[in-house]
């Protein structure tokens, strides 16, 4: 099975501290993966490397069927090949309406001239209505994103991620600050998305990970500690020691 993303032998250190140490990671085209690990395990740095925010000291990051190297691209080029990212803290454009936020994310030509002459068509508006419906913000389309509650901002960001229509979704703690019902809805959306694309979820909450019902990668001190089903990794002694046992 060909892989969508192949990270191999990647290391990065900040001022001598090895944040990622010889990490290897692969994910297929339509696959869900949960990444867990204690604080400082390198989960966020891993996402930074894939999305181009941090350049690794060594190793390769290959993308897609043509095995393009992501290391020579900048953040916006990486986003354009189809990698979407949701941050831990909800980051939406607070001064702009929910509709504008979704419109910004909608998969379209991103070059300045194309954007300058862009006027939303009927199908764009329908797509945005559809997304708003899915994330429960239909009534809030005209409101400024800054007015939304923390949970609603999380939803909006998930909506923006879906609007980008990426091939790979990197999701950092999607369920933080959500009610149990909202968590369930998030799980549904992510599971649904993983049918057609790759989804990587970084999460602390083991219950949430269990509900995702997918392969789990455990990181520790920047390297891979264990990989497998949730039951497999939770019964691994090393994992229990460094993470779950605490």
């Amino acid at each position: 099975m060909s892989q969508l993303l192949e990270v191999s032998g990647v290391s990065v250190s900040f001022d001598g501290f090895k944040a990622i140490n010889n990490l290897t990671f692969q994910i297929g085209k339509a696959e869900m993966r949960a990444v867990i690990g204690p604080n400082g395990a390198g989960k966020t740095t891993f996402m930074d490397i894939v999305t181009g925010k941090t350049k690794p000291d060594e190793g390769t990051v290959l993308w897609g069927e043509k095995s393009q190297s992501l290391l020579s691209m900048n953040e916006s080029q990486i986003a354009q090949v189809g990698i979407g990212r949701k941050f831990q803290r909800p980051t939406v454009f607070e001064d702009q309406s929910v509709a504008d936020n979704l419109m910004l994310a909608l998969k379209k030509n991103r070059s300045p001239l194309a954007v300058l002459f862009f006027r939303p068509g009927r199908e764009d508006q329908e797509r945005i209505a559809e997304l708003a419906e899915e994330i429960g913000l239909s009534a809030a389309l005209d409101r400024k994103a800054g007015e939304l509650s923390h949970g609603q901002k999380q939803w909006l960001e998930i909506g923006m991620l879906l609007a980008q229509d990426p091939k790979l979704l990197l999701v950092d703690e999607p369920a933080a600050g959500m009610t149990p019902a909202e968590r369930e809805h998030t799980t549904e959306i992510l599971v649904e998305a993983a049918k057609t694309r790759a989804v990587v979820v970084v999460e602390h909450d083991m219950e949430f990970v269990r509900r995702l019902n997918c392969k789990v990668t455990v990181l520790h001190e920047g390297s891979l500690l264990a990989e497998g089903s949730i039951d497999h990794v939770t019964s691994n002694n090393e994992v229990i020691e460094v993470y779950l046992g605490r």
Binding site: K53, F93, Q125
Partner: protein, 418 residues
């Protein structure tokens, strides 16, 4: 679906932006009123020099509009846009000075027994223009000064190219925030210092003068010429206002404001932040150049002091006082502060006698301006434009002082209520 349609730009621009209609209407009324009251075509109640002051003020409003686009909307605090303004002035000034001197030289040589050769005419012009800096030959930079179309092209191209190259270098290296401000300031300082040199080819600290005299139009009185330039200023400001509104109202404006508040996030959405910044930096530099080209023929003189960093800082102050992130705010700020400045520094404001000390406004005006800038920043970050929100009863939710995004240029809570 009904309320959905409202969220998008299907309605005409005028309906979505009532401020545009009001602005253009006010500008038109103002122009007509000045035309009626001025000497040139009207009853002559207001003096010629005041018409020029008003025309110049409109040009300053135009460059403030550019500043608002680059700072208020995109979050790039450029402290160098008045350099582009000055360059525009120099570009048009070269032609004005050349062509007018040419007429004078040709006239004076006409009485000579032999008809003058082109070389003699050219030398005559050069001696006239550069005698003041001890030179009598044309520097290469004057190669196109004989041609109005080429110098007009320079008004647009020189600021545009300079901004493009500078912006490309700066944005590509991801220089942001205060470092970018310092860089832009260094650019304008360097340019100003260069122009101060006599061998820069642009007459050193004398600058270019006599720009109020249009070549070949000696018979036209200044009262008429000043009205022409006043109209040109008004038309340029109106056109630019419409263009800027169009630019910031659609998705493009949405991207610009997103860059201002959180540029990292914009990158992760797949937008090339650098390309957008470069576009807006260059575009506004061109607007500034055009504004300068209409301003300096009304001022009559352009010299290197006009490019000094302080001018660009004033520009930022105008936009801040008017209210950044709204186009009419920039215009109001520039008009109000520059007219007040003219009034105070022109010696028209009455001095205040405090026992033994006399407050002379010519000296104290900068103190007053500085204080009002500090007060606006602290107590009314939305500036004068914020008053309109107050009138329109626009409110927005409490954010307990949190800014709207992590970037240095991001709007603060108090600015965002719109």
């Amino acid at each position: 679906m009904a309320d959905l349609a409202l969220s998008f730009s299907r309605r005409p621009v005028a309906m979505r932006h009532p401020s545009v209609v009001i602005f253009i209407g006010a500008l038109a009324l103002f122009t007509i009123a000045v035309t009626i009251l001025a000497e040139g075509f009207g009853i002559g109640v207001i003096s010629n020099s005041f018409v020029k002051t008003l025309g110049k003020t409109l040009c300053l409003c135009l460059v403030a509009l550019a500043m608002d686009l680059v700072w208020g909307y995109t979050g790039i605090l450029s402290l160098g846009h008045m350099a582009f303004f000055g360059i525009g002035g120099y570009a048009i000034g070269m032609w004005l000075m050349y062509a007018r001197t040419e007429t004078i030289v040709v006239q004076s040589l006409a009485s000579a027994p032999l008809p003058p050769t082109p070389q003699e005419i050219s030398d005559g012009i050069a001696t006239q223009i550069f005698g003041v800096v001890g030179a009598s030959e044309f520097p290469p930079i004057w190669a196109f000064a004989h041609s109005l179309p080429l110098q007009l092209a320079a008004v647009v191209l020189v600021p545009g190219l300079l901004a493009l190259i500078f912006g490309w270098l700066a944005f590509r290296s991801r220089v942001t925030g205060v470092y970018l401000s310092i860089l832009t300031q260094a650019l304008t300082l360097a340019l100003s210092l260069y122009l101060f040199q006599n061998d820069s080819g642009l007459r050193g600290n004398n600058g270019l003068s006599g720009l109020q005299n249009l070549p070949g139009l000696d018979d036209v009185p200044q009262s008429t010429v000043s009205m022409w330039f006043f109209w040109a200023s008004a038309i340029a400001l109106g056109t630019a206002y419409l263009l800027c509104t169009w630019l910031v109202s659609g998705k493009f404006g949405s991207v610009l404001r997103a860059i201002r508040d959180d540029e990292t996030r914009v990158r992760f959405l797949g937008y090339s932040v650098e390309a957008y910044k470069l576009f807006i930096f260059t575009f506004t530099a061109i607007i500034a150049g055009i504004a300068g080209a209409i301003y300096y023929p009304q001022a009559g003189i352009v010299n290197p002091a006009e490019l000094a960093p302080i001018a660009s800082i004033y520009l930022a102050v105008w936009v801040a006082i008017g209210g950044r992130g709204r186009l009419y705010g920039a215009v109001i700020g520039a008009a109000l502060v520059s007219l007040l400045s003219t009034w105070f520094t022109g010696g028209q404001a009455p001095n205040i006698r405090l026992g033994g000390y006399v407050i002379s406004w010519v000296d104290w005006w900068t103190v007053l301006l500085g204080l009002s800038f500090v007060c606006v920043t602290l107590f009314a970050p939305r500036g004068i434009g914020g008053l309109f929100d107050h009138l329109a009863k626009l409110r927005s939710p409490k954010r307990r002082g949190a800014p709207l995004g992590p970037d240095a240029g991001a709007l603060r809570e108090k600015e965002a209520d719109q």
